[in-house]
């Protein structure tokens, strides 16, 4: 029985293919090749001269782009002042525009997603001017880095082929490719997957036995995760969803001691709070600068501090209208604002939306659960295709989503049976990338935030490959050691 379990454990742990990469040279060569392939694939999209296929996309437009603020930020170090459709091609032109606009200048209020302004820099450096820069290049760099992190993490925990397969599938994901590489006004909706993949990579390494033996590595990763989490919060709140599964997987599955877990959790919280505080201080300074410049030109300053605000319950509330209008909810976030201003405004907007959401959930839990169920189903069955692409070329693998999902249940059950930490971590974390898809609006295309089906497909393919290798009598070290014993 124990031998059977060991065999199954080797299979679900993909140890047979790991056995093919035993020599240091082979491992390094594989890593270099994998990273080159991933980078080349992303470069092929970046260098396209037309937008990729836009069928799989997020149709939301809110928070899409802060291009309108970037010229002012770039030249005058203030944020956020809208100079959209005005001449800001050079610093002199921007100064002339400020003088000409005068009283019409205004510091905008309640700008969220504010750290996304940094994503305009790479393209500005390439083009040499801020007024036509978009986030495309910045987003591409961030996504490529997250894919490389995934490749490296899977390689580190001994599943290099799986890491490459996941990276290639996620890197070809038509939703992500469109959101990053389309021409024209950039959006930040790709950040959820990019950050989710980074969280996956960090959690995988952090949950591995090696991180127990290497506390400095663990501390570095915790700090890195906290910084990414805090930065993501300043760019797009929902991207934090990727960290929920990572935290869950790490707390439950990792082999750190309880004391270590508590220490790392505290470190993570402190780092997130510290980074957030720093970002707030930074943007408060930019707001003050913007107010000062606007006032100098006779415009209207914001004259407020801490203009940041959250809209999470608004999004959750709007999602109650995803599938029916039983209670009058509409899957339209602007309608949510309209509803709020037409009713009890004695509560602030977010608590009011939260109260209404929770009361509705409690009064009709079956209806609420039905919404969640339909969203989960959509994540698996109405998601992006299993696509591998390069530039304008792509091939959609003719795999049925339902069959692939069901096929994954077998190795998943085996992983549970043998308590294979890495595999379980992988599933827990990858599922969490799409957590926002379950909680929020669906019809806008938010189910594409989930790439768990790509993890599943890659994993199933690797298990099949491992089974083939097992039949070819490739022996992983564990079985060899057992046999020798």
């Amino acid at each position: 029985m124990n031998h059977l379990r060991l065999r199954v454990k080797c299979l679900v742990g993909l140890e047979h293919q790991g056995a093919l990469l035993q020599s240091g040279m082979a491992r390094v060569l594989f890593l270099v090749c994998a990273m080159t392939m991933v980078s080349a694939q992303q470069y092929s999209y970046w260098s396209l001269e037309s937008s990729p296929d836009g069928f799989y996309r997020n149709v939301l437009n809110l928070g899409a782009s802060y291009q309108r603020y970037f010229s002012f930020f770039y030249y005058f170090d203030g944020f956020p002042v809208n100079l959209d459709r005005l001449d800001t091609s050079t610093r002199e032109a921007a100064k002339a525009t400020l003088a000409r606009e005068g009283v019409r200048l205004r510091t905008d209020l309640n700008v969220y997603n504010r750290a996304s302004i940094f994503l305009f820099y790479p393209e500005t450096w390439l083009k040499g001017r801020p007024d036509t820069a978009e986030m495309r290049t910045g987003l591409a760099i961030w996504f490529t880095c997250s894919l490389l992190a995934v490749v490296t993490a899977f390689w580190y925990v001994g599943m290099p082929v799986l890491g490459l397969a996941v990276a290639l599938l996620c890197g070809s994901n038509p939703f992500q490719v469109y959101e990053i590489y389309h021409l024209g006004s950039s959006t930040i909706f790709s950040m959820v997957i990019s950050t989710g993949l980074t969280a996956t990579a960090i959690a995988l390494v952090l949950s591995s036995p090696a991180s127990v033996r290497r506390p400095r590595l663990a501390v570095t990763l915790v700090c890195l995760a906290a910084a990414v989490c805090a930065l993501q919060y300043e760019i797009r709140l929902e991207g934090i969803g990727g960290f929920l599964g990572a935290a869950f997987a790490w707390v439950v599955l990792s082999r750190h001691s309880v004391r270590q877990k508590l220490a790392y959790a505290c470190l993570f919280a402190i780092m997130v709070a510290g980074t957030s505080r720093f970002m707030s201080w930074y943007f408060d300074g930019k707001l003050a600068t913007a107010d000062q410049i606007v006032e100098q030109h006779g415009g209207t300053p914001a004259k407020i501090t801490n203009a940041y605000y959250s809209t999470q319950w608004w999004a959750l509330w709007s999602g109650l209208g995803d599938f029916d209008e039983k209670y009058g909810y509409l899957a339209d976030d602007r309608a949510g604002i309209s509803y709020y201003y037409g009713h009890d405004t004695s509560l602030h907007s977010e608590p009011a939306m939260r109260k209404d959401y929770l009361e509705r959930m409690a009064s009709d839990p079956a209806w609420w659960l039905d919404i969640l169920g339909r969203r989960v189903k959509r994540i698996f069955t109405e998601n992006t295709p299993y696509r591998v692409g390069y530039g304008t070329w792509h091939i959609d693998l003719p795999l049925d989503a339902t069959i692939v999902t069901l096929a994954a249940l077998l190795p998943l059950a085996a992983a549970l049976w043998t308590w294979h930490t890495t595999v379980l971590t992988m599933f827990a974390v990858s599922l969490s990338i799409g957590a926002v898809s379950i909680g929020q609006l669906a019809d806008y295309g938010l189910q594409f935030y989930s790439v768990v089906h790509l993890f599943v497909a890659a994993y199933v393919a690797c298990v099949v490959l491992d089974a083939v290798l097992a039949l070819c009598r490739v022996t992983p070290p564990a079985l060899r050691a057992t046999a020798a014993g």
Partner: protein, 462 residues
């Protein structure tokens, strides 16, 4: 196969992972039971701290760049008067008193004078409607007040407090002036018996009755010529027709064919073809990615309805959704409206011809301008477009360009034509030169005024 030694980080064997053979091969349940209590406590603490942290963020109210405040522009039915709702204060919602104040300015286009210029500290003016048989205009305010201004006395003739103080986003006077329909942000629709209240003393209460209304804010109202029916549109994506006498209603849009319904917030409605057709337009925010990927997204559509039956007649795809202000042109088969242009949301003025089933003309704002709302003269030739800060463009359809700019503020008003002529009202010289008037000023002092210019701008219409 000869296996070489793995490096330390790679040396992850089953034995290494679970040194205790007994533990390594435990069942999952047994393993789960071994998870120490403190780990669970840590998880609970993390969740609790996350929840607390998220709650701590929820302290700010939405203030959004004017999503709902559309500075209203309205002409009287005979085209003699032009009413403008002007906001003093920041351009965001909500902006209550005293941060934002509203002004009502009414011009007599025949005499070229401003006959009403309210300076009292009223809330923002959200909607306007002229009465048909008397020189009076009703204004709906952001604090739920409705005031009827008499243009002969420049005074408030009647006042009504409505709808729990919510924004009055839509007003419509029945053609026989018997009732004034009031549409509020709360979704309420009230029928104010304005005729009787105007006959007596100014009242704070008014006599009104309520229609069931909508769940979300009412965006537009229009009566048919017989004053029998009222058609309302709202942010809840519905278009409804009400019988003024018995408050019976039926849906235009949701039943029986939902596919032909609006799926965005319906922004405006107007009547055409002798009131037999209703035209509605929505600003699209709903729909799915599949809809968007298709050639005709769900609600970038102008919809034409049969008023009698409520059935859809035709739909006309637009480049983007309708932002506001559907106005009928007198030929009976054209409408003008402000249409969104894309994600930047800067609207354009569009004139749509239903006979040809396509747009006749599109007017785009100049660099640095934004169109906020629009009013069409009953003649169908002149349009007044609000561009913010008390500035209005007068666009002439016949010549196809802006023929004048109108500035109306507390101190006075000015009209400026592209050839450099201008007229200033008394007192306007005290107002500093700014914005688009700046180029016509010399060192801050206005140049010479051309008396009667405002009247001549409209002269072809008289």
């Amino acid at each position: 196969m000869c296996l070489t030694r793995r490096p330390e980080h790679y040396n992850r064997t089953t034995q290494d992972e679970f040194p205790d053979t007994g533990t390594a091969l435990m069942t999952p349940i047994g393993r789960l039971l071994r998870i120490q209590g403190a780990t669970v406590v840590a998880a609970v603490m993390l969740i609790a701290s996350g929840w607390t942290g998220l709650n701590a963020l929820q302290v700010y109210q939405w203030t959004l760049p004017n999503q709902y405040f559309v500075p209203p522009v309205s002409f009287s039915a005979d085209g003699r008067y032009l009413a403008l709702g002007i906001s003093m204060g920041p351009a965001y919602d909500p902006c209550p008193l005293p941060t934002c104040e509203g002004r009502l300015h009414v011009f007599d286009l025949r005499s070229g004078t401003r006959v009403v210029a309210s300076t009292a500290a009223h809330a923002r003016v959200m909607s306007l409607a002229f009465l048909h048989h008397s020189p009076q205009v009703a204004a709906g305010y952001a604090d739920g007040k409705v005031r009827v201004w008499d243009l002969r006395t420049s005074q408030v003739a009647a006042e009504y407090s409505c709808c729990n103080g919510k924004w009055i986003r839509a007003l419509a006077a029945a053609p026989n002036d018997s009732v004034l329909a009031i549409g509020a942000q709360s979704g309420q629709i009230m029928l104010w018996n304005v005729a009787s209240d105007l006959g007596g003393d100014r009242t704070e209460r008014g006599s009104a009755r309520s229609l069931p209304g909508h769940v979300y804010g009412v965006s537009s109202l229009v009566f048919d010529r017989s004053s029998t029916y009222l058609i309302s549109t709202a942010d809840d994506q519905h278009v409804r027709r009400w019988h003024v006498g018995n408050a019976n209603t039926y849906e235009f849009s949701r039943a029986p064919d939902k596919a032909k319904a609006h799926r965005g917030m319906v922004k405006s409605v107007t009547l055409l073809n002798g009131d037999r057709w209703a035209v509605t337009g929505a600003y699209w925010e709903g729909g799915t990615y599949k809809d968007y990927a298709s050639s005709s997204p769900p609600d970038h559509i102008l919809r034409l309805w049969d008023v009698d039956t409520g059935r859809p007649i035709r739909s006309y795809p637009l480049e983007f959704g309708v932002r506001c202000c559907l106005r009928p042109l007198p030929d009976g088969h054209r409408v003008a409206f402000l249409r969104a242009t894309g994600w930047s949301e800067d609207p354009v003025l569009e004139i749509f011809d239903f006979d040809r089933g396509q747009s006749e003309r599109t007017v785009r704002p100049s660099m640095g301008e934004s169109f906020h709302s629009m009013g069409a003269h009953p003649d169908g030739n002149q349009f007044v477009i609000a561009i913010g800060d008390g500035n209005f463009l007068i666009w002439n359809r016949g010549v196809g360009r802006v023929v004048a700019q109108l500035v109306s503020v507390d101190d006075g008003w000015a009209v400026l034509t592209p050839d450099g002529r201008m007229e200033f009202s008394d007192g306007f010289s005290r107002w500093p030169c700014r914005n688009n008037v700046q180029r016509a000023c010399r060192g801050g002092a206005p140049a010479n005024s051309t008396p009667g210019l405002l009247g001549r701008v409209w002269a072809p219409l008289q």
